[in-house]
Amino acid sequence: MARYIAKRLLMLIPVLLGISLVVLILINITPGDPARMMLGTQATEEKVQEVREELGLNDPLPVRYGRFIWDVLHGDFGTSYMTGRPVFDEMMQRFPYTLLLVSISLGISIILGIPLGVFAATHQYTWKDNAAIFISLFCVSMPSFWFALLLIRWFGVNLRWLPISGIASWKGWVLPCVSMALGLIASIARQTRSNLLEVIRQDYITTARAKGLSEGKVIYRHALKNAMIPVIMVIGGIFGSLLGGAMISEVIFSIPGLGQYTMTGLFNRDYPVIQGSVLILSTLFAIVILIVDAIFALVDPRIRSQYSGKGKRKAGKRFEKETQAVETV
């Protein structure tokens, strides 16, 4: 297991190198001069050139890439063009907020989504299942930023129960988390339901029934654990979509997190900020995927033995995990 994780961490390095290269190339080919943006339209051409030279923007791409990597390895992500503050410090300061926002939302989605899915699956062919499916589809289809606005209007403005922005107290977290979690609860519930129905059709569930186990035991002891395996895989993807969603949520609710920072950077073409945040968010995402895969391997003995190297691998039968697309924003 440790070897597996070490291997996965090693495999992360080329991926992150690739990401930073892609971001650098993207920035390079787009119109717009960051030096000009920093100095404003009134600045003279000489001044702009001077700043460009100072920022190293005139160097060829490979040199800039090498420099960027070198700096990153020393914990230096550069300084923001706009604020002049080191990007790394700023990101570290903002990181906990985003992590908290995303984790709470993920927690809510899992805690509510899985039981809802189980409920729907165990009541198949009844109105309860139909209602659960329809409501969850409804939630999946709702734009979360719009839902956030409705929540603000209702709980913040009308009822005045909760603050409409800021995170001065715990109350400030409620609306952002709820608005982000809603679609994902539904998404997890749907996934759970369809997997459970799939598993219930399997022979070993019939075997469990034939043993004389009660229906509850059959579902919770045998079916649910198996049905959870694909759901665990989806949770990695959901975390990614939460990171994306956090960018909008943090702006709407004025949470000083990484998402907000990224958005500001994007709008100002603040390249060090963009590079830094894309890299750090992707790293976070990659680590979560890794954790998810590790959990996956722990739950499923078939995968575990594959990694521990004891199990024989059959020719031509490769295990392919497919990160499933998650249909939410």
């Binding site: 024989k312 691998r313 059959k314 020719a315 031509g316």
Partner: protein, 327 residues
Amino acid sequence: MAALLEVHDLMKYFKTPGGMLHAVDGINFTLNEGKTLGVVGESGCGKSTLGRTILHLLDATGGQVLFEGRDITNPNKSELHRMREDMQIIFQDPFSSLDPRMSVCEAIMEPLILRGGMSRADMLAETRQLMDTVGIAARFENSYPHELDGGRRQRIGIARALSLKPKFIVCDEPVSALDVSIQAQIINLMLDLQEERGLAYMFVTHDLSVVKYISDDIMVMYLGQMVEKAPAEELFRNTLHPYTKALLSAIPIPSIHDKKKRILLQGEITSPINPKPGCRFMARCQYATGECACQQTLVECSPGHFVGCCRYEAVKYEAINNMEESK
């Protein structure tokens, strides 16, 4: 009579994470026109791979395949095309060997379209003719495979294989997925076709009673190697290899009178990955001794009867002794 098909020391290995998988390991045989070679073995013995390697659906790792004297082991594109017109295959699973999106007519016509050189009307006439030959009523022409039963689907598979008028057909477990009464219909159809068209079959199966029925020669495979090959009658009358003996005795006979004594094999089939030299059946063989660990060679003990066991003579006596003891 010249041999239609000659296979010399054919090998097919697969690379696996655990090492080289010796799926087919040095198979030799010849097959004459209009004859049937039955290939028998348990799952994983390489019998399906053998058929596919001969047809060049898989690249051979080593050895030689001669068809009508031509070397077709590594054909170029045009040779391959010509060779596929002479050699065809019928697949095991009539549920997955037909494209679910092709109607009966399209499926049977596909080989003709690919060969080209015929007008559409001619192809259609030919297709109808084929459907009639294999016994599919014309009304099923536009049906799709999922609307048909297993027997009919297998008939479509046979019609497809026949459409290019081949001389040799590899039949890869063509009746294993079918029920007994349908199985009998298909076997009879295949025997009729063989008589009418002088086809040569290589009949791959795990079912010894079917293979005895249809074959002239029978080859028994174990872990990629041929352990025994003999004319059908001879193999059953004078079984020599301990594995063949066990295999024969394991078949349940649908009769309540001749109860026979089963030879129960110990353990299960081992892995054909990186096999050690020597007899591959050794670990499960009740007659095994030290000399079995050496490389085994095929011995022709009587005309046409080959056995890959160095102790077959000794085994014969031991078996007789055992029988007498048990009496």
